[in-house]
């Protein structure tokens, strides 16, 4: 056992602790901001089931496998599952939340550009999990009336 001085180790531990505090504070702050759902966000009900996604818009329109949204608007997803756990994911927009039977999970996003993005399932759900995929289609907003 050491008769030598141990101060370099304590300095090092101090640096690590400081780094972790910094990471934690930044993460806390960023998460607080992204979780703040805008009041005017339009609700889209998302249902996962083996092995596809279906969507219901606020006006009652339903879609399967494809989701059409307007650029520049905020949307709030209410995510459910009919059978086993799934995870609703639009990776390009960092939308990721589990679909769990018996509960409703919410997450929001606001597409900034017109385009197409992949929707996928990120939680193992069986036979066709690998192909439980869909498309997000972000369209031009209608001219406001």
């Amino acid at each position: 056992m050491g008769h030598h001085s141990n101060w370099p180790e304590w300095v090092y531990v101090g640096v690590v602790i400081a780094l972790m505090c910094w990471v934690g504070a930044e993460a806390w702050n960023a998460e607080r901001l992204v979780e703040h759902i805008p009041a005017d966000a339009e609700v889209i009900k998302v249902t996962g089931q083996q092995w596809f996604w279906s969507f219901e818009h606020e006006d009652g329109t339903k879609e399967i496998g494809e989701l059409h949204v307007k650029v520049g608007k905020a949307y709030k997803f209410e995510i459910m599952s009919k059978d086993v756990n799934h995870s609703f994911n639009i990776h390009d927009y960092v939308v990721l939340l589990d679909a769990i039977p018996g509960r409703v999970n919410t997450v929001w996003f606001a597409p900034m550009e017109v385009g197409e993005h992949d929707i996928q399932c990120r939680e193992y759900c069986g036979l066709i999990h690998y192909n439980m995929r869909g498309k997000l289609i972000v369209e031009e907003a209608e001219p406001s009336s």
Partner: protein
Amino acid sequence: MVLELQKPRPIWQIMFSTHHTDVGLLYLITSLAFLFLGGTLALAIRAELFFPNANGGYQIIADSMTFNRMFTVHGTTLIFLFILPFASAVGNYLVPIMVRYKDMAYPKLNAIAFWMIPPAGALIWLGFADFTWYATPPYSIISAPGPAADMWIFGLKILGISSVLGAINFTVTILKCKHPDMSMGQVPLLAWSFLTSSLIVLVAIPTFAAALLMLLTDRLGVSGFFNPAMGGDPIAYAHLFWFTFHPEVYVLVIPAIGMMYEIIPRFSRKPIFSHSSGIFAFVLLSMVSFSSWAHHMYATGMSFTEKTVFMIGTLAAVPASAMHVFNFIATMWNGRIKFATPMMWAVGGIALFFSAGAGGVVNAAMPLDFQTHDSYWVVGHFHLFVMGTIAFGSIGFFYYLFPYVTGRMYNERMGQIHFILSFIGTVLVFFTQHVLGLYGMPRRVYDYPPIPEWITMNQIASVGAMIIGVSMAIFLINMIYSSGKGKLADTDDPFNLGGKYYYPFEAKNPHH
């Protein structure tokens, strides 16, 4: 130390023995057999993912269910049937010697704990379940086909009991049977690693043991703990599962760190930089390992506050891990380092441990985890630990033990080639998988859309896996050949380290 293969004995004498080195040998052989079995599945998985199936790419594995079963059994095997039994092998050989006792505290219990492993392994392999290594309900209740899933559940149940028995034995051996002249502060760090990891086992495992029973009765339809159709809650299972298995990852890694604490000072020909800080970091890790389990569950819809609590709990474990890294580097500093095979594995393992930890911090930071969670990033992250750190430490230690177990030397050149190829392969597979995850590829997929970046990265990872495969073939040949025909080892100083750092355990075992 015993020289198992120097004095050939009939196999049944070893099988029915309760002596710690015999049980150690049984653990050793079993764990290595499962390393090769589980590794073969990994190669098949990587072969399947080399090409996407679109546009006439061909399938290696005929259907997705077979693939799902393969990654489930791959993970289960390497965690429970390779890493844990390998650690037990090392503990059996060395813990009694290090605390200067004649055997484990309860030799019969020790043999029983070992003999639970082969039947559990058989249940897992013959069942070949598909519900991933965490058997999440409600999939595991309503969607996972019968006997396979039930066999997995029983297999894990048996392994859990075996772990608890082993942990009791190590704890008592170290605390109660240690030589009275030896203070706890003098107990070598490898033995400390077994003490702390055993204490984690005793606190952590019962929770999952209960969850497994509840899962079983849910499957039988007589209860609905986790089945939403019967008013149950799948999230409850996730908490029970991770309450056991986040601490369990430290049960896996702590003995491997302990093994590095044996290798690094000897091959640096210097005493460990700080014995007491090693002990401190082990004890600290064993406690903070319980503060972070729900970092696996950020995406299940936890509240902001819950996520924050578990993020802090996770980050709190980092300084303790970082202390070990410091201790290793400070020990090597100014040492007369001899880069023989065991040292190469240990140093490589430390480098990968550091990279893995950095990735872990990213996962822990809540907003970043929504990029990485359940993507290939996570697969890369934990493989840098389980393969890069734990398997590296274990394999290095295996080379280190080899002369003491067999009385012969392995082929040094082949050992070094084994390391270099494995290191290159590990970097290729698991660093690439981190990036692949950032590109959004989900884990546990049998096939993927032909996105050019995904294809390239999958191919790099698959090539890396094949390189590891080749290195492991070299390992196998080296082991088999050298244990029979290798040149006789000088067991006083098999690695030619000279001076006082050569022999791990002055007190030879009185039994032999």
